[in-house]
Subunit: 205 residues, 2 copies
């Protein structure tokens, strides 16, 4: 039986994405190598740059797994032989930037006209609500892959759309809302995706 | 061949503690049930209390593993059949409290007279140095298990001792330093280990 969120949307366990993160093959193009990189790769490289340049300390959280059985072969590393994916209770990325707590998730969509809210999980919304209440800076970093455009969607905008969906309104955020209320992040060379520059508008004065 | 940190101390992969976290048996005493709980359990329960009472949003990070092989049995959950422990690049706990970025690790020692620095890994010190530089609040939550006493050791105190060790000074922090420069956390009922109350002294005004 399919498990559903209280709002009726189907619950999707994090298995596929989690495995995809570690095993997916990457398309590489020697001329436009950035274009073949996943959003996650771009964020990871940007975070490494932020760390080495003393700009911020932001890390991706590991995929949570429940470890059941481990073997210890002699002369080699321990091998996990049985483990299961667990549902994360937070977003994927967090850290600290100029004294501010930063917390976000990365999302990709092939859609051109809107961002479907089914890309977002209820536990992520609940987590970000709590973090915002504590003074954290929370957002989604959304890539419209077909359009090759990146946006910082402030949590407040996401939250309004989520509440609307719960009240029977539309289940996606129109692209025009991104152009008006989100902050575009232009791709660069180093760092590839300078999203912290883009969030300056979200920081308390 | 044993891998060693630049300071000559042996590198210990996180395997044992990681597996221990999921499989260790807990001593239970019906009268003093708290005493049988691990430090990690006490922190987890405290963090759950902080979250539900809207006091703070602090989570333990999952153990990082490199997933190599996953099976998808029909009608049941995906099973990880081959995976390896990776070395974490951060501390175990982080989150947000009243607008402050909080970052710490939990350590237990059976010693009564000092806290051996071999309990701390170089990557944890490097990570906390960077987070403090960004305005984060970093510390160790240390339990002297034999003495049944808990202390918040501010990162500055740890860092001074670490630098001293690198310069050939002692490889542990004397208990007297804890009594003078650390902040004691008294065990309670709800929450069990109110460490955020104890860090008030560390917060910028």
């Amino acid at each position: 039986m399919a498990i559903r969120y209280p709002n009726g949307r189907k619950y999707t366990p994090p298995n596929n994405t989690s495995v995809g993160q570690t095993t997916k093959k990457k398309k590489m193009d020697p001329t436009y190598s950035n274009r073949g990189k996943s959003l996650e790769d771009k964020i990871d490289e940007t975070n490494q740059y932020y760390l080495s340049a003393n700009i911020a300390v932001i890390h991706k959280k590991p995929v949570p797994v429940q470890i059941v059985k481990v073997e210890y072969p002699s002369r080699s590393a321990a091998v996990i032989r049985e483990a299961y994916f667990r549902t994360p209770s937070t977003t994927d990325y967090n850290g600290v930037y100029k004294g501010h707590y930063i917390d976000f998730d990365a999302k990709e969509t092939k859609n051109k006209t809107s961002f479907p809210l089914k890309n977002v999980h209820l536990h992520q919304v609940i987590h970000m609500r709590a973090a915002v209440e504590q003074g954290g800076i929370c957002f989604l970093l959304v890539q419209f892959t077909t359009l090759e455009r990146f946006f910082i969607l402030p949590f407040d905008v996401l939250n309004q759309a989520w509440i609307g969906m719960d009240n029977g309104e539309r289940k996606s955020i129109p692209f025009e809302v991104f152009e008006k209320e989100a902050i575009e992040v232009k791709e660069g060379y180093v760092p590839q995706l300078d999203y912290l520059k883009a969030i300056t508008a979200l920081l308390p004065i």
